[in-house]
């Protein structure tokens, strides 16, 4: 199997989708000739033509609305929002329209499409190229929310998303497009080629949209996270020498409560982690549900390790990002070894 980084894996997924289904179309800002500012759609316009892979005007609401209209007509749009920070002009089309079309029409019309968007911080992008807005979308009945953490999953989840009958918000952790990130800012870039999930089949395969994965088994405590922080968590557990079980959610809405509950019932100690601000972040949902589900198994309070309740700062990015030091402290706190 070839080694791919996450961008190559996403590109391969879209190639497979375009090849297989003539109703698949792709558009977004700079996604046509140029292939996207991160290169995710590179080469696809040339291969499939400008009416299947094209540039959209800079209007995220228009991009979402175009996707809805096309989906209602029976196409399968896979649209890109250039940065997750810029998805908000499309928020109304997503919450008021895309998420509710099947419901309000009692199934007569659907709007199954994929909105892909580079997501998360750690690239010195400042407050408008770093956001993790996933929590907002998990509060919208009718859309699913996916965040892969590695090339293998990225491809398999994206194909599954595009083959799903539901509208899907697909957030791509841009910090790990080119290699896993341990949460140590100045460490040299690692390569996906050396990671087991950097091996990606060429052809069609899917990764299910409702299953989390235990990426590290452990008995001492449970870490529930997704995206970039999966790698930070693994590294932190290693470094702290704590036998943590680490769950990569992959899909946030709906999240895989069974896998989470089984682990928590075993360990009794939990860290939920994300980059987004703390208040009403997705960690709140996880903590609320875990305490309900596993109340009598919990030994200590569920620890929410999150970004701060501030915009994402530029210069002090690493004071905001939940990196190694804070991760280890979180693990030690739930282990009561601090």
């Amino acid at each position: 199997m070839p080694a791919m980084n996450m961008l190559q894996a996403l590109n391969s997924a879209m190639d497979v989708l375009l090849e297989k289904n003539p109703d698949v179309v792709m558009f977004g800002e700079d996604t046509g000739y140029f292939g996207g500012v991160f290169g995710a759609t590179q080469g696809l316009q040339k291969k499939y033509g400008a009416d299947r892979v094209f540039d959209a005007p800079i209007n995220e609401a228009a991009i979402a609305a175009m996707a809805i209209g096309m989906a209602a007509k029976g196409l399968k749009p896979v649209a890109e929002i250039q940065f997750a920070d810029y998805i908000f002009p499309a928020f109304d089309q997503i919450i008021s329209e895309m998420s509710r079309l099947r419901y309000r029409s009692a199934g007569q019309f659907t709007s199954a499409c994929v909105i892909r968007s580079p997501w998360g911080g750690g690239i010195r992008g400042g407050q408008t190229h770093s956001m993790s807005p996933e929590a907002f979308f998990t509060h919208i009945p009718g859309v699913k929310v996916v965040v892969p953490s590695n090339p293998y999953d990225a491809k398999g989840l994206l194909i599954a998303a595009a083959e799903s009958d539901d509208p899907i918000i697909f957030f791509e952790p841009k910090r790990i497009y080119n290699g896993p990130f341990d949460g140590v800012p100045d460490a040299p870039l690692k390569s996906w080629a050396k990671h087991a999930k950097g091996e990606v089949p060429e052809g069609h395969y899917t990764v299910p949209l409702d299953k989390a994965e235990i990426v590290r088994e452990g008995e001492a405590c449970t870490v529930v996270t997704y995206g970039t922080l999966v790698h930070v968590a693994e590294h932190a557990a290693e470094k702290a020498g704590i036998d943590a079980e680490i769950i990569d959610l992959k899909t946030l809405a709906p999240y895989d409560i069974e896998t989470i509950a089984a682990s928590v019932n075993k360990t009794g100690r939990v860290v939920v982690a994300h980059e987004a601000p703390r208040t009403s972040g997705f960690g709140a949902e996880l903590a609320a549900q875990i305490q309900e589900e596993c109340f009598y198994a919990l030994e200590v309070p569920i620890y929410r390790l999150t970004g701060w309740d501030t915009p994402y700062p530029h210069a002090h990015e690493w004071a905001y990002f939940p990196g190694q030091a804070r991760f280890i402290r979180a693990l030690e706190t739930v282990m009561e070894t601090r």
């Binding site: 179309v25 009416d51 005007p57 209007n59 609401a61 228009a62 609305a65 175009m66 996707a67 809805i68 209209g69 096309m70 989906a71 209602a72 007509k73 029976g74 196409l75 749009p77 002009p89 109304d92 089309q93 008021s96 329209e97 079309l101 099947r102 419901y103 309000r104 029409s105 009692a106 199934g107 007569q108 019309f109 659907t110 199954a112 009945p141 009718g142 699913k144 799903s164 009958d165 539901d166 409702d210 709906p254 409560i257 069974e258």
Partner: protein, 409 residues
């Protein structure tokens, strides 16, 4: 405080409650005067049409000028019937709403030509993305009246399972999109749909309708930008009925000459049309649809009309506009005008008209009886309660399964 000079320009309507409305200052192009370019003409050739007014029926109720679609009397009578049915239906539903049979209602009084004539000019295979005031389309396309009523009273036969407010119809079989409660959102969606049809190589045209007030929404701009860039086969309709709830159209229009003129800024063919003139609406829609089918892209139509009644059952127009505005509105009533035209050409008479209205009234009354036999919002039966957990996703996930269980349904 109230005496000082206002420092912001805030436009206000010419008349408010207590005023004696007088529209003699309204300078409108006369029926028959507007030129009709070929449907594949460059958009610039519509520049005058965007600030003029395409009209066919003159003040003598005669069809005049280049835009006369030359319809045969059979078609005209059909249009008259659909418009009359729309009005009878609206009146009845309003009454029923007042009796508590439904939670809400919205009439299209005075604007019946907008929906009916457009629907008749389009093919039934063409797609429509309407707002909540084009129920005329449904009648013109032959939607079952009982079904429409069942939706409005949210009963067990409501094809939307009681999930939507009344008048927010959906009818996929009739190529009638799901009406949203959110203003303007459907305009750019219609472009996406039209692009989808073009992509699939179909010759289907997509049409959408919004109100004058709604043109202010960002989605209006999104729609026109998309349509201009991708030359989508779409017909944009701005129904300028002069009012957005209590807000006069000038708040959305500002200093723009007309709403149609906005289309020109996008390089889109744009025409202002006498929205109370069945023949003009028909002709303009036909022109736009033909243009779209020729691959020439979008057309923007402003349908100049007047909202004859309240915005909805939730407001009292007497509180914000002059009572007699509608009665002195210079473009009259679309039903009266088409009726008089038919009478003028010897194809109709008052007696037949009266009989038709009676017949339609009977039909509506009878239909409502049947509709009610399937339940009402208040007394049921409704769609089964568990349906509230369906259609959120293609398949309910554990959260919805548990929640349904939690509710015990």
């Amino acid at each position: 405080m109230t005496d000082r000079q206002p420092r912001l320009h805030v436009p206000s309507p010419p008349f408010r409650p207590g005023d004696e409305p007088d529209f003699s200052g309204l300078d409108l192009q006369k029926a028959g005067e507007a030129k009709r370019p070929a449907p594949d003409a460059g958009w610039k050739e519509t520049a005058d049409l965007a600030t003029g007014l395409v009209g066919v029926l003159d003040h003598n109720h005669q069809a005049v000028g280049e835009w006369d679609p030359g319809l045969n009397p059979e078609v005209l009578r059909e249009g008259l019937r659909h418009m009359a049915l729309t009005r009878v239906y609206d009146e009845r539903m309003l009454k029923l709403q007042r009796q508590g049979k439904m939670s809400f209602y919205m009439k299209s009084t005075g604007e019946e030509a907008v929906g009916v004539a457009a629907a008749m000019a389009l093919r039934k295979s063409d797609m429509v993305f309407p707002s909540y005031r084009q129920q005329g389309i449904l009648f013109a396309r032959g939607r079952d009246i009982v079904d429409m009523m069942c939706h409005c009273i949210s009963n067990s036969r409501d094809n939307l399972k009681g999930r939507q407010l009344p008048v927010h119809y959906t009818w996929a079989e009739g190529n009638f999109f799901s009406i949203s409660g959110n203003l303007g959102t459907q305009f750019p969606q219609a472009v996406g749909y039209a692009m989808g049809a073009a992509y699939k190589g179909e010759d289907q045209v997509t049409a959408s309708w919004i109100g004058d007030g709604t043109t202010a929404e960002g989605d209006f701009h999104a729609a026109l930008t998309l349509a201009s860039t991708y030359r989508a086969p779409v017909v944009f309709n701005v129904v300028n009925n002069q009012w957005a709830i209590s807000t006069w159209q000038g708040i959305a229009k500002g200093d723009a000459p007309t709403f149609a003129a906005k289309g020109l800024g996008y390089g889109i063919a744009s025409i202002r049309v006498d929205g109370n003139d069945f023949l003009a609406v028909y002709a303009a829609t036909k022109w736009a649809a033909e243009r779209a089918r020729m691959g020439k892209g979008a057309t923007m139509l402003e349908l100049f009309t007047y909202r004859g009644d309240a915005h909805s059952t939730s407001d009292d127009p007497g509180r914000y506009r002059a009572k007699t505005e509608y009665t002195v509105w210079p473009l009259g009533d679309p039903i009266e005008r088409l009726k008089n035209h038919l009478i003028g050409i010897g194809e109709w008479d008052e007696e037949r008209h009266e009989r038709m209205v009676e017949e339609l009234t009977a039909l509506v009354v009878k239909s409502y009886k049947e509709a009610e036999s399937h339940g009402t919002l208040h007394d049921g039966p409704l769609a089964p309660t568990q349906t509230i957990f369906e259609d959120v996703y293609a398949e309910p996930d554990w959260r919805l399964r548990r929640q349904r269980q939690d509710l015990g349904v």
